[in-house]
């Protein structure tokens, strides 16, 4: 039954893809939008102001002279697969605390409430609920070429790991290679980074190292004892960028080495993103590698279509996996996304069926 429903929804998505006016449509004429309404939609104008305290949608509550901003995002998710037979979850509520009162210094904390409520045919509850200090770092800007970040921060590998917030991504499900254990989502240590002009764009670099254990007691985390890595990204404005990352990680005296390449191109009506990871070393039974290619097309603002192909060759004897995703996204405001997608995988991974229909609503607040 689940397979029939899955195929039916897949067919519906395919029909939508074929019938969409994307190929023929000219960009809609710029509507004579009200300036105030447009500014509010982009989170540039406050919708609430009490003295120096202002709230901008998608950009948080700014507490005037304290230099403190409280913001965050939330994600509500639903999925249907042969395994889950329908599941709904209040997936994430992440709160940002941003302090930028002092020149050349900024502090950021991200507190994460995860799996707050999960409902399926079998049960409703909070059994999977978890609280985590996901990020906690201070940023010192010495010059544009030299910045120092210390604390817990997102590991700067590739592209997707730095946009791990559902309102920023085009799909509910993240690519398998980002989800699998090529590297830890966060690093607890120090990063030195910066950017310098090179030709018409900027060359960004980062050198980072983990030498402290994470604060979190998440049993799923199996952080390496030490890591060291470097990332180089050439950024030509917002139009395109490409980068390379290398990271070495040590766990109980066994080392792994990770190499990553990414490229993103953002023309006016879409986006093409690709990443490739490969990892080997004595810490793995054999080399693992994977890649994905994702395309996004603006059909008619604020509606988008997204497609992605993924390939993952896990370590050991497990067979490689091919994964296909087709979906649609509506972004009524730039800080908000409603997504629905169908994912098909030609085999399971560790017994988990990766296919299904996934939908989510996410927004910065």
């Amino acid at each position: 039954m689940g397979r029939v429903v899955r195929r039916g929804i897949g067919l519906l998505l395919a029909v939508c893809l074929v019938c969409s006016p994307a190929g023929a449509a000219e960009p809609p004429a710029a509507a004579p939008a009200s300036d105030a309404a447009s500014a509010t939609a982009l989170g540039e104008a406050p919708i609430l102001a009490v003295g120096p305290i202002e709230y901008r949608p998608g950009r948080g509550l700014h507490l005037g002279p304290t230099g403190l901003t409280i913001g965050g995002f939330t994600n509500v998710k639903a999925e249907y697969s042969d395994e889950s037979h329908g599941e709904f979850s209040l997936d994430l509520l992440n709160v940002f605390l941003i302090f930028d009162k002092i020149p050349h210094f900024r502090a950021v904390a991200e507190l994460q409430l995860k799996d707050i409520l999960t409902a399926s045919k079998e049960s409703v509850g909070t059994a999977d609920f978890a609280f985590d200090v996901r990020r906690l770092f201070g940023d010192v800007t010495v010059t544009e070429e030299l910045r120092i970040r210390a604390g817990i921060f997102l590991t700067p590998v590739g592209y997707w790991n730095l946009i791990l917030a559902p309102p920023l991504t085009w799909t509910t499900e993240i690519p398998l290679i980002v989800e699998e254990t090529f590297f830890q989502e966060t690093t607890t240590g120090v990063m030195v980074y910066g950017a310098a002009q090179l030709g018409p764009g900027y060359l960004n670099y980062a050198a980072f190292s983990q030498f402290l254990q994470p604060l979190s007691d998440d049993p799923d985390l199996d952080p390496p004892d030490n890591t060291a890595g470097a990332r180089l990204v050439y950024d030509s404005g917002p139009a395109w960028s490409a980068g390379l990352t290398f990271q070495a990680a040590e766990k109980t005296s066994r080392w792994t080495q990770l190499g990553a390449v990414h490229a993103i191109w953002q023309p006016r009506r879409g986006e093409v993103l690709a990443e490739f990871y490969a990892q080997g070393g004595e810490g793995l039974p054999s080399t693992q590698w994977g890649t994905y290619l994702q395309g996004v097309l603006e059909v008619r603002e604020p509606f988008y279509l997204v497609g992605r192909y993924e390939y993952y060759d896990p370590p050991g004897a497990a067979a490689p996996i091919n994964l296909f995703l087709a979906g649609a996204v509506a972004k009524p405001f730039p800080f908000m996304a409603v997504k629905v997608e169908y994912r098909y995988a030609d085999r399971s991974l560790d017994g988990d069926d990766l296919g299904g229909v996934f939908a989510s609503f996410s927004t910065f607040f």
């Binding site: 710029a30 300036d35 447009s38 540039e44 920023l168 910065f364």
Partner: protein
Amino acid sequence: MPTRGHGASRSDRTIGRLLLAAVLCALPASRPLWAAEVEIRVIAHPRRAAALTAVDVRAIYLKQKLYWADGQTLVAINRESGSQAREHFSTAVFGQGSRRMADYWNRRYFDAGEFPPATLASDDAVRRFVASNPNAIGYVLTRDLDESVAVVLVIAAPSEAP
């Protein structure tokens, strides 16, 4: 003779038409030859009168470039989104409208708690702010500027709606 002369003239006209057709075909479809351009004037305090390049301005408005040469913090001022000046500026400098640029700022907000440049609602407000703040930089469509600000770059943008 008149016939030959008449024939040569027709041949010239044919060649002329072919050349005209070739020139018209070579033009980009989205940008007619006769399309007017608007000029965006990037302005700074008279103390900061040294010319900037388009790459500098893009880096300043993306907050990749943060400081003036003397170490003072740059204060970039945008026009409000939806305004003609903003959309012309955004398209000419970044190749994208202000709505798509919001994606860039969403990423910066998430990654490092950084916010986009502040906005002001008129050319005159931008001019007055820049005139009063030695570290500010802004842009205006008006040519009607006095010596209270320095024009550091003029950007030509297509006049049709971005």
